[in-house]
Symmetry: C2
Subunit: 120 residues, 2 copies
């Protein structure tokens, strides 16, 4: 695949992947992928991440059942970031919030929870 | 601001900031911020980035006029990523596409331009 050679992976061999709900446009999470993960993502139609803390390949939902089915794969002008639109089953966040970005900060520093917490 | 102490900056002192159109939900670009940049972002109501290639602070539109006015600031469960919703004037991408994520890749490796190119 030609575009793979246009992607730039960082010093640790990773590229950030923004995961977005394909229906609502909500940003669900930010993950990281290795080159093999990008290839596998396009092959199996699910985002294949690299866990920086555990140093392992992971696919959302393999244990939780909260799977992501890929609907659209985009890459940016510099080839150093991805957007992957998915159909998300259940919450995207391990905290059970629909999105990992559930905390809003206002200019005065006050905060508000802006996401719904889903049942298990 | 309490939340600042919950943010995790990487080895280079940076945190990724996903910039999203507040009206359409379109992801426009991915930038990086230093801690000072995050503070300044909330103060001046525009995303304040750090250019990794030029090693300088930058604010979108300072030369191009394609400014970003902040509408919403969110941070994620792990405190290692931001979503900033903005009102984007003109194209977000230096290539004049509305979004930096203008190339779509299909599972067979073929590509398509999915964004509109705006006039200067």
């Amino acid at each position: 695949m030609g575009f793979l050679d246009e992607l730039k992976f960082d010093g640790k061999g990773l590229i950030p992947a923004i995961i977005q709900d394909y229906r609502t446009g909500k940003v669900l999470m930010l993950g990281y992928m290795k080159r093999e993960g990008v290839e596998e993502t396009l092959r199996i139609n699910r985002p294949v991440f690299w866990s920086r803390s555990r140093q392992t390949r992971w696919v959302k939902g393999e244990t939780s059942g909260h799977t992501q089915e890929m609907k659209e794969f985009l890459y940016d002008c510099d080839g150093d970031a991805l957007v992957i639109k998915v159909e998300q089953k259940g919450p995207a966040c391990h905290t059970n919030y629909r999105s990992c970005f559930y905390r809003r900060v206002f200019p005065d520093g006050s905060e508000e929870i802006v996401e719904e917490k889903l049942e298990d």
